[in-house]
């Protein structure tokens, strides 16, 4: 079948030399631009195979002479991102945390940095919106166990709460009044009644009156005579509308019987100082932050008022 290629006289184009039932094929070449693009692609591919990881093997691809890896590229990108933040991080490192507010621009950076760090390290317990859950405080409100000005928050973050690995961790322990037999179950119920009265949940009754005496003898030393709490020992204020472990009778009974002692890690052991500082700025900015005075103004008048009673 294969004939000699010949010139087709009608078109002036060479044939490929094949013929099927009188039909021949013209040998029209590919467009030159297409061919050159094709050759250029081959040349590029050869170079690529030599320079970059390309040929698959049993345990991995050929490494390529440039030594490029996607992991290495990511590491370089992360390093560059870190480097670009170095200057502002140095600024934050140099400034005491309570003076951050004096530099609005730096504070803004710190809050945003804290927001990012919070999403990685804190949301597991405190929730994505920092609203907490049972046993994990809501950080958006103005109710602070250990204090809500930025320096105190920073201190709490650095050293943690009841964290075994840090000597300066915030320490306190509520006795398990029911479990350890300090109070009888009936007495526990009376204390619960009293606590629900001072928090405005229930009206006073006989049980609450009995409970008031038990409260004064056992609880007031930490929680205050009127249940106003004490930040030095992280004793929650019982007279407000916020409950860490629930304010209904069952939850309160459980709390008084067995006691609770939440733990937070000392973040200075896990994160660098600048990140901890930024976290403090972020938590302080969530809507419940207190002014930088070591004693919140709301607390000050409460104490003499108790004394006069």
């Amino acid at each position: 079948m294969a004939n000699e290629p010949r010139i087709d006289e009608a078109t002036g184009v060479e044939t490929v030399g094949h013929e099927w039932d009188g039909i021949e094929e013209l040998n029209n070449p590919l467009p030159r631009w297409w061919l050159w693009t094709f050759y250029a692609c081959i040349a590029f591919a050869l170079g690529y195979v030599v320079l970059y990881p390309a040929l698959p093997g049993l345990t991995g691809a050929t490494p390529g002479t440039l030594g490029w890896t996607s992991r290495g590229a990511l590491a370089a990108d992360l390093k560059a991102a870190e480097a670009s933040k170095a200057a502002v991080r140095a600024q934050i490192a140099a400034i005491p945390v309570e003076q951050l507010a004096a530099d609005p621009k730096l504070l803004r950076v710190a809050i945003e940095g804290g927001r990012a760090a919070f999403k990685v390290n804190c949301v597991q317990c405190h929730g994505a919106g920092a609203a907490g859950s049972k046993g994990y405080p809501n950080l958006n409100d103005d109710d602070w166990l250990w204090g809500g000005d930025i320096a105190t928050i920073h201190q709490t973050l650095q050293h943690g709460i009841r964290y075994p690995g840090d000597d300066q961790a915030r320490q306190s322990q509520m006795p398990a009044f029911g479990r350890d037999g300090i109070l009888t179950p009936a007495q526990v119920q009376d204390v619960v009644s009293h606590v629900r009265v001072i928090s405005g949940e229930d009206k006073a009754n006989g049980s609450a009156q009995r409970g008031a005496a038990i409260f004064a003898a056992n609880c007031a030393v930490c929680h205050g005579a009127n249940g106003e709490g004490n930040r030095l020992v992280g004793a929650p204020r019982l007279s407000d509308a916020i409950w860490l472990y629930g304010g209904d009778r069952a939850s309160l009974t459980e709390t008084v019987t067995n006691a609770h002692a939440g733990v937070m890690p000392a973040w200075s052991q896990r994160l660098d100082p600048v990140t901890v500082k930024m976290l403090a700025a972020y938590v302080h900015s969530l809507g419940g932050g207190e002014a930088a005075a070591p004693v919140a103004p709301a607390e000050a008048p409460a104490q003499p008022a108790t004394a006069t009673k």
Binding site: A10, N140, D141, L286, G288, A296
Partner: protein
């Protein structure tokens, strides 16, 4: 094969243009005449506008750039003389682009492919490069000779020299583009000292290459093969569109003056001097009729008019002429009135749409607010219980100041009895009914705002209000929701 079927007519395809026909170079001859001079004028104007615009200064005060036309990508602002466009107002730019499109339709229906012939960048730069050819290599015949000449050292030197000029023009063209995107004098300095952003060099490089390649070498092939506009033209042109017409009823049969003496039949006006072909920048023969390669630049009209003048015949054997007028002329009737051709329903409708969009844009430009706020409510947490029983909700409030100066404003709330606001850099007990703030010039200030309302507040809608407290004044408001444990009031 080779069995000849007598019913088949053998067609000689060897002279057809193949699908991949090798390009025949175009070496347009120098020509002079009114259309050529008009083309020079338009070219000078286009190039002046392109190169000059970024260098026009415009005083906008201390907080905004002083460049009349600036597309500031980094800060997402588009400045055009007294108009400043923000990203959320991009519909102005979209409107301008639609106007440009409709404008092209309008111009095409009124005067044919005037855009192709005179103002298209491809035409302008091709014309410029063809002029460089004539300056360096000489006119058409010299260029043809050089093209056919073998590659001697002298030819190589002349080609290198010419391509060097091509490259210089391409560089100046590509380099000018970047000045629309940054402060021109600053960028110029940075560019030459190696301080400019890599993207500036890359853009210059790419545009230098495309200008060099498209203007220096591709030329009319861009119009014939690459550009969609000539194809769209076929749908746009009608019998009243202005096209370059060879009046064959007057010109045919063609023949030189000498052959006319010998011819048994009287010849037409066309003396077959082929000047119309020689001057054509896209290398077509207009005497074959309207065709895709004809950009209606009118240079063949200039060339033909000169030939007619030289032999004492009336001008206009090739002329701008509508199909309708062509028919009338053949029948010996006078041309249709120009105004009637120009103001016909089609052009009027295009003009109406074009002007309508323009007026709508101008109206919106006058109406737009220069001070605004937008409010986004926090979803998590939706509300926060405070120790005293009050509830607070978190919001992200954006205050937008589109003036080129900082403005003092008051942010307040309405519709929430006993409500107060504070920001995330204030202590929670410092909440108050309104906050006085400063919004930086030409910026959107983002604030975290907490709205606190007393115990027992019902959920529902309330307003954030913004009021400028400078001489100019202005205000904005945004409705949003206050959520409590009872829900959001809906």
């Amino acid at each position: 094969m080779n069995v000849q079927d007598p019913r088949l007519v053998r067609v000689d395809h060897s002279k057809d243009l193949g699908l991949y026909a090798k390009r025949k170079g175009v070496f347009p001859k120098k020509v002079d005449g009114p259309f050529r001079r008009f083309k020079w004028t338009v070219m000078a104007l286009c190039l002046a506008v392109y190169w000059g615009t970024p260098w026009i200064r415009w005083d906008r005060g201390p907080y905004a750039p002083h460049q009349a036309v600036l597309i500031d990508m980094a800060n997402r602002r588009f400045y055009m003389f007294d108009i400043e466009i923000w990203p959320h107002e991009f519909y102005f730019v979209a409107g301008l682009l639609i106007m440009a499109g409709i404008g092209l339709f309008l111009v095409t229906s009124a005067v044919g492919r005037a855009w192709c012939g005179y103002a298209c960048p491809q035409t302008v730069w091709t014309d410029l490069y063809q002029h460089v050819d004539r300056i360096v290599d000489g006119d058409r015949n010299a260029q043809l000779r050089l093209q056919k000449a073998p590659w001697t050292a002298s030819k190589l030197a002349r080609r290198t020299f010419k391509w060097g000029i091509y490259l210089a023009i391409a560089f100046v063209t590509g380099g000018a583009w970047i000045f629309y995107f940054a402060d021109a004098p600053t960028l110029q300095h940075a560019f030459w000292t190696g301080q400019a952003d890599p993207v500036a060099y890359a853009t210059t490089g790419i545009l230098t290459f495309t200008t060099f390649w498209l203007g220096g070498f591709m030329r009319e092939q861009v119009c014939v093969y690459m550009c969609p506009w000539p194809r769209i033209q076929t749908a746009m042109l009608d019998e009243k569109s202005l096209i370059v017409t060879y009046k064959h009823w007057r010109g045919e049969p063609r023949g030189s003056v000498k052959s006319a003496a010998r011819s048994p039949v009287p010849l037409g006006d066309c003396i077959d001097c082929q000047q119309c072909e020689a001057v054509c920048p896209t290398g077509i023969d207009i005497r074959e009729g309207a065709q895709i390669g004809c950009i209606t630049c009118g240079l063949c009209i200039d060339a033909c008019d000169k030939a007619m003048r030289d032999i004492g015949r009336p001008r206009g054997l090739i002329d701008y002429c509508t199909l309708e007028d062509a028919t009338r002329e053949r029948n010996g009737q006078p041309d249709a009135p120009v105004l009637k051709t120009l103001f016909r329903p089609r052009t009027l409708v295009y003009f109406g749409i074009w002007a309508g969009i323009g007026l709508a844009l101008l109206f919106m430009l006058g109406q737009r607010s220069r001070l605004d706020l937008s409010v986004a409510k926090d979803r998590n947490p939706e509300y926060v219980q405070q120790s005293g029983g009050a509830i607070h909700n978190g919001f992200t409030v954006k205050l937008r100041n589109m003036e080129d100066r900082p403005r003092p404003v008051v942010l307040s709330i309405a519709g929430l009895p006993g409500g107060a606001i504070y920001t995330d850099d204030m202590a929670s007990n410092a909440a108050r009914p309104s906050l006085q703030l400063q919004v930086p010039a030409d910026e959107t200030r983002r604030l975290r705002v907490y709205v606190v309302a007393p115990r027992g507040t019902e959920p529902g809608q309330f307003l954030f209000q913004l009021k400028a407290i400078d001489a100019q004044g202005g205000h904005g408001q945004s409705q949003t929701t206050f959520t409590t444990a009872k829900g959001n009031g809906q």
